[in-house]
Amino acid sequence: ALLGIIIDVNGAQWARIRDQVDFRRIISSLLVFVNAHLALKESNKVLVVSCGPHKSKILYPASESTDSANIEADGQMYRPFQVVNQVIIDAMMNSLEESQSSSSNSVKFAGALSMALSYANKLSSHSIGHGGYQSRILAISVSEDEPSQYIACMNAMFTAQKLSIPVDVCKLNGNSVFLEQIADATSGTFLRPDHPSGILQYLMSVYSPNPSIRNYLALPSQSNVDFRASCFCHQKVVSIGYVCSVCLSVYCSVPSTQSCMVCGSKYDPEEIAKLFIKPQVIPIKKPK
């Protein structure tokens, strides 16, 4: 089984909740959670992706294979745990430094999710035979949504749905409609912990079960998800709008070019004109 972790490294957003929880505590709780996942079965694997305001990066498994040679064995810890922990810590510190300078309050989530999904797909296509390869993704987020990411996020969400990979979300700060929708569509768990400093217990009790035993558990979930779509032209949230009949993309108003921006199909000008006919007002006949 694979556990993919997408961790938000937007330094500014983490600084906002500095009084509630320290980022280092999050990292150490996360490492214990990773160890617990690896402890479940020898064949379990983990993937850690850092998701920043400008780019996403895979922290573990790292592409250079120099890690285990450099980390000295001291017999104090189960070796696989030690290697994983050390690599993640080093890589995480690097990526946090890089993102200190930015000032945006959102992260490029779609990219990170796509990276995680392609890794999961690679592993499952390589596994031998009986029964599928179980994967799941956990996203720890403190940032807001970025409207321009709508299309990419939704595409990634549908991919996760197709691959039956649940995406759980742990929201420590900020509002994100996209993440709520993603968790709901992939039957993952969405949670907003009340006590972020106790994050380890949240991870262990809510986010540790595999999809196969989630059938037996009643995990907390979000019931009112805002399912409104955003329009493709201005990224505004719309509840009533126009939909292209060919590619089903959503618009808040008819595109000025009278053709769809996504698929390029031209609309019949007469039909468009019919949309704007004002209703005829029939004068009321006064009764004689």
Partner: protein
């Protein structure tokens, strides 16, 4: 097969008394190994209460209230109680203190008891690499299996190994050097390496109790071996005398490698690494070698999974023909037990499954399920794409051939005949029916048949009542 492995180790652990189990949990490596043996829901339960510091209410667990969930939860609770991991009273449950402390240490680091093995960082004058260890393991392990099958081999296993085989009931014979394989031995041959390893180790544990070796120490060592890295040497410091003695025996099975009796370091082989693995793809020492050769943090980890192909080599067609892409004499000998092999090529052996070949296997004590399991476990990746893996006709036919042997059941006993009149027959037959020993009767011929156990009673009755 995984269930079989789990159940035998867990059963052994459950059979240990509570103080022994408490001592077992004082070491992080053992806690980790026991944790891996638990069922999935049990693992979730342990994780969710591990970092709590006070007793918790069972009702607080987020288990659904459907019947299926409740049944699953009860099963898990029973198992956890049997292993003394959880103690329940009232509605509250508490996790075993040592287990909690040491499992936390396993997850967070800081293990001062060196339970994961002390790596020897001093330079080895002539280092060994994983290929050598794999070959060493394969040679020793296969020599044991070859000895059981009866192929001629120059290196016969050690006396210690032979004694273990005899104690386990896998081979029998008065003379240690001329034993023959038993029914249990045949079944043993058809299992995967994992199950075989643990079967032998559990037998070793039961012998050790007679030899005054501490089973807790032995279990600690076994679980320590399971958590070691291949290719890393470990030093003998911090091992108890029991464990050092055990090391010699384990060398004979091919589980560890030690250059000489006085060497201060040892290397675990792929067989040791797979002690706590549950991967179902490790069905032979060669597969264990392939899977362990590529360390987890190398780029080639993905190709190693497909390299486990040598252990998946059997193709079974619907016309009962078998093609096995192997050249290992051991696997060919095992196939020979129930397949009528017809031709042999450098990389391929082919034959037919016939009624006679299956019947001879059944005569040796192998069951149809084991044959089918063996074929399924060693099936070629191309076969794995079928659903079910083996053609239904073949599987059913093997089972039918087994049923053919059960057409008749025999009962030993005595036939009563030559009654002087119908009344006598009536009385005797009714008495026999009343005490429940009558097996068959034919009133027309006035004969009835009584099983062996009840014979004396019926004879006494007849002597008393009818001879007057």
């Amino acid at each position: 097969m995984q269930q079989a492995f789990r159940s035998s180790v867990i059963e052994y652990l459950e059979s240990l008394p509570e103080p022994v189990v408490s001592r077992l949990y004082q070491v992080p490596a053992t806690c980790l190994a026991v944790f891996r043996l638990l069922p999935e829901l049990g693992q979730y339960l342990v994780l969710s209460i591990l970092f709590l510091n006070q007793p918790f209410k069972m009702a607080d667990l987020p288990i659904k209230s459907t019947a299926k969930s409740r049944v699953a939860l009860d099963l898990v609770r029973r198992r956890l109680r049997a292993l003394s991991i959880i103690r329940e009273h009232g509605g509250f449950a508490q996790i075993h203190k040592s287990f909690r402390r040491n499992f936390r240490i396993a997850l967070t680091g800081g293990d001062t008891s060196r339970s994961f093995g002390v790596p020897s960082n001093s330079l080895d004058k002539s280092p060994v690499d994983s290929q050598f260890l794999a070959a060493h393991a394969k040679r020793h392990w296969e020599s044991i299996l070859h000895y059981m099958v009866g192929t001629d081999l120059s290196d016969v296993p050690n006396d210690g190994v032979l004694m273990l085989l005899r104690h386990a009931g896998l081979m029998e014979g008065k003379n240690l050097h001329s034993m023959s394989i038993t029914q249990a031995g045949f079944q043993f041959l058809l299992q995967d390496v994992h199950t075989q390893l643990w079967a032998l180790l559990l037998q070793y544990l039961s012998i050790s109790q007679q030899l005054q070796m501490d089973p807790v120490d032995i279990l600690h060592f076994i679980f320590m071996l399971g958590s070691m890295q291949l290719g890393q040497g470990y030093s003998l410091t911090d091992l108890s005398p029991t464990q050092t003695n055990m090391l010699e025996d384990l060398c004979d099975y091919g589980i560890v490698y030690k250059r000489s009796k006085s060497s201060r370091r040892f290397y675990p082989t792929p067989l040791a690494i797979m002690l706590t693995t549950d991967a179902g793809t490790l069905v032979s020492p060669s597969a264990a070698v392939d899977a362990a050769n590529t360390a987890p943090d190398q780029k080639t980890e993905l190709t190693s999974i497909s390299d486990a192909a040598p252990a998946h080599f059997v193709l079974l067609e619907t016309n009962y023909r078998v093609y096995a892409y192997t050249s290992s004499p051991l696997q060919i000998a095992i196939l020979n037990l129930f397949v009528h092999l017809k031709s042999r090529f450098p990389n391929l052996v082919s034959g037919v499954i016939t009624r006679d070949s299956v019947r001879s296997a059944l005569a040796h004590g192998i069951t149809a399920e084991q044959i089918i399991l063996y074929l399924t476990v060693h099936a070629h990746p191309q076969m794995l794409r079928n659903d079910p893996v083996l053609p239904g006709t073949i599987a059913d036919q093997i089972k039918l051939w087994q049923l053919e042997k059960e057409r008749m059941t025999t009962t030993q006993g005595y036939l009563f005949k030559d009654f002087s009149g119908p009344r006598e027959y009536e009385i005797a037959a009714r008495y026999a029916t009343e005490i429940g020993v009558l097996t068959w009767q034919n009133p027309k011929l006035r004969v009835f048949f009584v099983n062996e156990a009840g014979n004396s009673q019926v004879v006494d009755f007849i002597n008393r009542r009818l001879k007057k």
